[in-house]
Amino acid sequence: MNATERRIKVLLGKPGLDGHDQGAKVVARAMMDAGFEVIYTGLRQTPEQIARIALEEDVDVISLSSMAGSHLPFCRKLKPLLEANGLTDKLWVIGGNLPAQDHEALRELGFKGIFPSGSKLDAICEYIRKEVK
């Protein structure tokens, strides 16, 4: 990263009621080591909260970590809120326990980066660096 380059700013959210944050915190640390600025929300964020923080913090990346199966209903509620807040030009990424049969639906909802359990930390960070220009 050269000095004139802006640090990539990432919102890492824990959507819904899921309390499994080990993975989210590991990914947050990897992102910080990769030189990104990370806003980690903590647990139990509503779609409204995620959209508001993304807007207020002016992030480049909106990322979610979901382990308890409610990713589709959550993302369906989040998408219109992100659109209404003019956040469609940001990179939307989701990771966690995401069955392969749900990936297409997530892509259609605007989640370009999909990182199911087993994804490598460096792969996630490289993807973000490549996609955020």
Binding site: G16, L17, D18, G19, H20, D21, Q22, K25, V26, A28, R29, A30, M32, Y40, G42, L43, R44, T46, A68, G69, S70, L72, P73, F74, N97, P99, A100, Q101, P116, S117, G118, K120, L121, D122
Partner: protein
């Protein structure tokens, strides 16, 4: 093909940070403290087991974690597991129930019945346990934030069915301090949360003396990134915090300590794990006897479920998890556990299907019926390696407990988020080691298949209708119940919570009037407030 790089001369350090030698002799045992703490099974300090005959008298209870959808769905799964030889139940609740939300709460949308069964009122418990003999099948409730409410509900349900509460056995997880470290189903701030645990201990000591109101969990702390030695040491620190609260209320240690239990994890190195349990058993006995002045042997027993192993399972090559599970079951049997359960091979993906849950049961049954694991107590005793490592693990746990005390104690560290930051930093270190190949994981960083086949995992279906059925049922109950009685009970609950009285009698009254989990939680939140998570890295 791609075996891990491991030079023969490399120093081996186990996860707990203890060096493992290529050979152990009698001299190592002597140097580590000798055989002084080994003793006899069933006698202080219980290193070899809390009972003299252990599994010869009765094999471990098999208690697979189960629950999904609405109570009727879960009742069927319970009966299926019992029909297949399961000897206890371990109940999974959905997230709204776990954090005290009713099914019709907007925040519950999309989460009802997903990771466990949905419970709103006593009616749901009546359905969930219908036709199950609660004397023969003991029930463990995996509930924490809302534990006081669901314990009240379980006792009320059993009483209504004619069981004598004084004789009723069963367990609630009810370990809120570990929820702040991992798992995350907290509701109230730290101090009132500990008070609620104390209320359940005090109430059960008097009203339901055979019920186990707390199962202190090293398990989830380990899943969050703790080493095996930290897992047990932090669990002991947490148990002491609950014990101190009970003693402050005027209970004597022998009135409640015999009803404390534990939940520990079983993934990792076989010997490190088995020695963890043997060491922990004697350390806990020593703490209870020497620090707390316990006199009854039962107060010194480390009663436990040694189970799960989720943190060791892999998303890659999921069927290999069946074999991992078998080794984890062996660890659990060698550890002298009272209760066993296994994560099923598909649990890295989904909640277990009937098929995978049955495979886990069969794995445990093999050890009992074919492998001779119930014939002799503590068969590894006397091994130079095992006795040395047991002594070293005990020392390590004592060091960690002393460090925790020196840093202000577990309650302070949890409140400030320092334990959370420590274990999550370790989880990150471990993930880096796995990704670099330094810490071998078969199918992940070594022995990967040339071409990864499609995962043969069948997904347990999520029934979208369950939520609607559950909400309709809650609405019907709200319309049919005596709402004057509900209001009176909720008013009493608020009053008792505000005045610092034990809230359990009021909760039992409210539950019997069919007040909902969400209604009771709201009253308590109004008095106690909500927990604010400290975010620390």
């Amino acid at each position: 093909m791609n075996a891990p790089q491991k030079p023969a001369t490399k120093k081996v350090i186990n996860e707990s940070g203890i060096e493992v030698k290529p050979l152990y002799t009698a001299e190592d045992v002597a140097a580590s403290g000798g055989m002084e703490m080994v003793g006899e099974p069933g006698q202080y300090p219980f290193t070899r087991g809390i009972h003299r005959e252990m599994y010869r008298k009765q094999p471990w209870t098999m208690r697979q974690y189960a629950g999904f959808g609405n109570p009727a769905d879960t009742n069927q799964r319970f009966k299926y597991l019992i029909a297949n030889g399961q000897t206890g139940l371990n109940v999974a609740f959905d997230l709204p129930t776990q954090i005290g939300l009713d099914s019709d709460d907007p925040l519950a949308e999309g989460e009802i019945g997903r990771v466990g069964m949905s419970i709103d009122t006593l009616r749901d418990f009546e359905i969930a346990f219908d036709g199950i003999d609660l004397k023969k099948i003991t029930v463990s409730l995996t509930i924490n934030g809302a534990a006081a409410i669901l314990i009240a509900m379980y006792l009320a349900m059993a009483e209504k069915r004619g069981y004598d509460i004084k004789e009723l056995r069963g367990t609630a997880q009810n370990d809120i301090l570990k929820e702040f470290i991992g798992r995350g189903t907290w509701i109230f701030p730290v101090e009132p949360s500990i008070r609620l645990v104390g209320d359940t201990i005090e109430y059960c000591a008097k009203e339901a003396p055979k019920y186990t109101p707390v199962s202190v969990c090293g398990y989830h702390i380990r899943e969050s990134g703790a080493t095996p030695a930290q897992e047990m040491a932090y669990a002991f620190c947490i148990a002491k915090a609950y014990a101190d609260d009970a003693i402050k209320r005027g209970l004597s240690v022998d009135e409640f300590a015999g009803r404390l239990s534990y939940n520990f994890n079983i993934f990792g190195n076989i010997f490190e794990q088995v020695c963890k349990f043997r060491a922990g058993r004697s350390l806990w006995a020593k703490i209870m006897k020497e620090e707390y002045g316990a006199e009854k042997p039962g107060s010194m027993w480390l009663r436990m479920i040694a189970a799960g192993g989720g943190g060791g399972l892999t998303f890659e090559q999921p069927e290999v998890n069946i074999v991992r599970g078998a080794y984890y079951a062996l660890i659990s049997a060698l550890s002298g556990t009272q209760t066993m359960a296994l994560c099923s091979y598909d649990e890295a993906y989904t909640i277990p299907t009937e098929y995978s849950a049955r495979l886990s049961l069969r794995t445990m049954q093999l050890l009992i019926e074919e492998m001779g694991m119930t014939e002799t107590v503590d068969p590894l005793a006397g091994s130079f390696y095992v006795e040395t490592m047991t002594n070293e693990m005990r020392k390590k746990m004592e060091e960690i407990m002393a460090e925790t005390d020196a840093q202000g104690g577990i309650v302070k560290m949890v409140s400030e988020g320092t334990i959370q930051a420590k274990v999550s930093s370790q989880a990150y270190g471990m993930q880096r080691k796995i990704e670099s190949g330094e810490f071998p994981k078969v199918g992940v960083n070594c022995y990967r298949n040339e071409q990864e086949e499609d995962h043969p995992v069948e997904f347990h279906p999520y029934n979208e209708d369950d939520a609607r059925v559950q909400i309709d049922s809650l609405k019907r109950i709200r319309a049919e119940r005596d709402n004057t009685a509900v209001d009176a009970a909720l008013t009493r609950l608020r009053g008792d919570a505000t005045a610092g009285r034990n809230v359990m009698p009021a909760l039992v009254e409210a539950v019997k009037a069919y007040a909902s989990v969400g209604e009771m939680t709201k009253e308590l939140v109004n008095v106690f407030g909500r927990y604010q998570e400290p975010i620390r890295f």
